[in-house]
Symmetry: C2
Subunit: 498 residues, 2 copies
């Protein structure tokens, strides 16, 4: 007890080595997406391949197996939980035959470029044979990994351990009904916001300056991170003291950069505030895709689309947009940034309709992996469901089944994390509001207690707690969609005078 | 013949692995100096240590020894020359006992921070004990590595293979005499340029835009590189398609960024134009420090401080400095940027007095390594030599013996490369001017034939030719300081109406 054994020391060295590779791999990705000159990409791709191979070797080595066997019951909790993570990865990798995995990696890379072509041409038939293979591989892998009730659970587990089709099927219908009910009322409302007041030219430099001020307000530490520009915004963790985010500026629509940056800032706050004792272990990152998304959505939607937030920041915002918004009153501005309107593209969807986009994808994925229908039937099914859930029908597959990159990379089971993130966020918010007067804090610009609450209850643990364990520890109840439903109902009842 | 043997293929894979580590190490350095957030530095330093260790292991492995033995006489010239490079590194590393090397690395890192402190306080006694140890280690290493006539040659070889004290002692006195003779005449000139006309505020953005245009003119490929801002400008090669440079802007003195960027651009042109067949081998970089410096100085001094260059670019320059230089005629501008004036700081020295700074350092290094005097005598000797060579005496060690970082990193034998670079550049220039009408090309802004000449004669070879071999191949004579002397005499006779 207390004393670190020799094998624990060796394991720590081994983790440090893995972590060094991980850090340079993250730096390499970041550079590829933000700074690399065009012609440097080819060789860099080979370098990334080399690093990925090294990490894979370390994850699946005989030495790793020995560490797992020796330290599975270690006294030190960080060692034990690190071993748990390593074991999960070890088994996931070692159960897939090497040749099959290599073929799959090639297929992924080819499929992404084919998907890009297919989307450009709005021609699903180009992508179809690749998607068919990707689905087949995922079914095989799911069978290698094993599952209890539904084959799709094996894939869900990859992104959101503990979540099953049984849980989702118990939650989604109720959530869907509440949202469509609210949507119906909103569409019938006689008191709608006017989004046209948001239009206007907003120079990039000013947007950047404003978002930097907001990031500082919410507690993003620029001494442990930086903000750059990319086409597809992301957050990336080199280490807990180097958590970088990127954003995209649209000079004709500030919402892209402002809400997008806060979203990535929410991810970054999670990573910057993981406990230092977990540094350089596999535990030093967010515990799941869904919990990560709960943090970004909490800041993006619950905080930065709230009235309190703008009560404090609207004047600042207007100071960066000297030629606009001067005659727009706060209430109209607040209502406009919360306009609800069914639309085709998921990433452009409003807060209310977004979960419907996720449910459509969930049902299609689950059906595909279970063999309920064929890949060729996807476009038709997609459009049917869009009509069914959102009341609109895409005119091309570009704004339909071909819009998302995920499937082209073989990522099945990922989409539900987005909807789970919404539900987690609302549930955390509910608990937080019992302890903090959130509206008052927001309208006075005092984010510190909010950030500290999140660190104390969520961030610090990294992967020490599994997602559902974390939800129960924090909120003293199981995952419960009611909180999201209540939050949405309250918000839109006010905005649309329902 | 022609067919690649199994061991050659394995060697190639091994080189690719080494090169992948090298590339990520370079990326890591670049990021550390340009982009990393403050708190990310600590862990990053450990990552760099890890990568350096990996590279060192690969360079000195048993496997490497086997490759060297098996392929020393390979038919393929690229393989053979790669082996030569590897063998050089292998022996250099393996001759130093591991413990001694580790101690030395620690000493280097400690010494640099002590030097910084000492320089800040202008107190040589702080740095003295560290410098003493660094000198002792370098003497030991020189003895391990071996030499023919002078122990200092072993260190020179490290930076400039083929160059010896005998060669330098044969060249420097004549060069010194010519420069001091010219300097005397210049000081007596009644027709001096007026550098005060160069003063004026020049916004950073405009300086950047102008230097980018110049970089494009000289053929720097922005699709294979990028320009960033740093305190200490540098060029760094990730691979031949990703050659990055940095610069520093002084809004009150444009010369820093303009000539500094062209200098780094000259280094970058070398690296960008190495033959593709050498990619991912140890040959895909400049052949020595001196030849590298010949390329940067060629562009910085011979080209961009020439009259022809400004005949073509002065209007462009003025367009970026709308409030200055409008009443400054080209001739006055040209003369002002070429003002000669003895000064204390090497990196701020003009083109004529610069080599004198180098000779002082050369004599001191040679004396130290040969034990002709003690480290404690350095400050006094430095100041004596400054009076002797340049006629001025530093009032503190900050502007004297403590000004350069090199010795604090244990780099002895490096300084002569700067003076060699000058001589190589002038000698190459002499040959080039027999084949190209350089003045005409410059004044018409046609840099392409110049760049192509450099690529054909110098750049493409990378490390396939040793520095002196390259000089002889290109200029059909041995290293000859007369070319530099003639170039300087002609230039300053014109500028100062001597």
């Amino acid at each position: 007890m207390g004393k670190t054994s020799r094998v624990e020391e060796d394991f720590q060295d081994y983790l440090h080595e893995m972590d060094a590779y991980r850090e340079v791999m993250m730096l390499t990705y970041w550079d590829m997406r933000t700074k690399i000159p065009k012609k440097g990409v080819d060789q860099r791709s080979e370098v990334i391949g080399f690093l990925a191979e090294k990490v894979h070797q370390l994850e699946t080595s005989e030495k790793m197996k020995n560490f797992i066997d020796a330290l599975r019951d270690a006294d030190n909790e960080i060692v034990r939980k690190s071993i748990e993570e390593c074991e999960e990865t070890y088994h996931k990798s070692s159960k897939i035959p090497t040749n099959e995995y290599k073929e799959y990696v090639k297929l992924q890379s080819k499929s992404e470029s084919v998907w890009q072509e297919a989307r450009k041409k709005a021609d699903f038939t180009l992508f179809q044979p690749y998607l068919e293979q990707l689905v087949e591989y995922n079914k095989k892998f799911a069978n290698y990994w094993g599952y209890e009730k539904n084959i799709y659970d094996a894939l869900l587990h990859h992104f959101e351990p503990g979540i099953t089709t049984e849980i989702l099927d118990g939650i989604f219908p109720k959530l869907r009904d509440s949202i469509t009910d609210l949507l119906g009322k909103i569409e019938g409302s006689m008191d709608k916001p006017d989004p046209s007041i948001l239009k206007g030219h907003f120079p990039k430099e000013n947007q950047e300056a404003f978002t930097i001020e907001i990031l500082k307000q919410i507690g993003y530490d620029f001494e442990s991170g930086r903000l750059d520009e990319t086409i597809h915004p992301f957050e990336i963790t080199l280490n807990r003291n180097d958590v970088r985010i990127t954003t995209r500026y649209d000079e004709e629509d500030f919402r892209m950069a402002v809400f997008g940056t806060i979203h990535e800032g929410g991810h970054a706050l999670y990573e910057q505030n993981i406990n230092a004792s977990l540094a350089r272990t596999p535990l030093a990152t967010g515990t799941s895709m869904g919990i990560h998304e709960s943090q970004s959505l909490f800041w993006e939607n619950i905080i930065s689309r709230s009235k309190g937030f703008w009560q404090n920041n609207y004047d600042l915002f207007k100071s960066y947009a000297p030629n606009h918004f001067q005659h727009v009153v706060l209430e109209d501005f607040y209502r406009a940034i919360n306009e609800v309107k069914p639309s085709f593209i998921r990433i452009e969807a409003d807060e209310l309709t977004y979960p419907l986009h996720i449910m459509i994808r969930y049902e299609l994925e689950k059906g595909l992996i279970n063999g309920d229908f064929a890949v060729k039937d996807l476009p038709g099914l997609w459009n049917e469901k869009m009509v069914d859930y959102l009341g609109i029908e895409p005119s091309t597959d570009r704004e339909g089944v071909l819009q998302d990159i995920h499937w082209s990379g073989g990522d099945f089971g990922y989409f539900p994390s987005y909807a789970l993130g919404y539900m987690y966020a609302a549930q955390f918010h509910q608990t937080m509001s019992q302890e903090l007067d959130i509206d008052k804090l927001l309208s006075s610009g005092n984010f510190k207690p909010i950030k500290e609450w999140l660190t104390k209850n969520i961030h610090q643990y990294g992967k020490m707690k599994k997602p559902l364990e974390l939800v129960e520890d924090v909120t003293k109840e199981k995952l419960n969609a009611e909180h999201l439903i209540r939050y949405l109902t309250k918000k839109y009842t006010d905005i649309y005078s329902l």
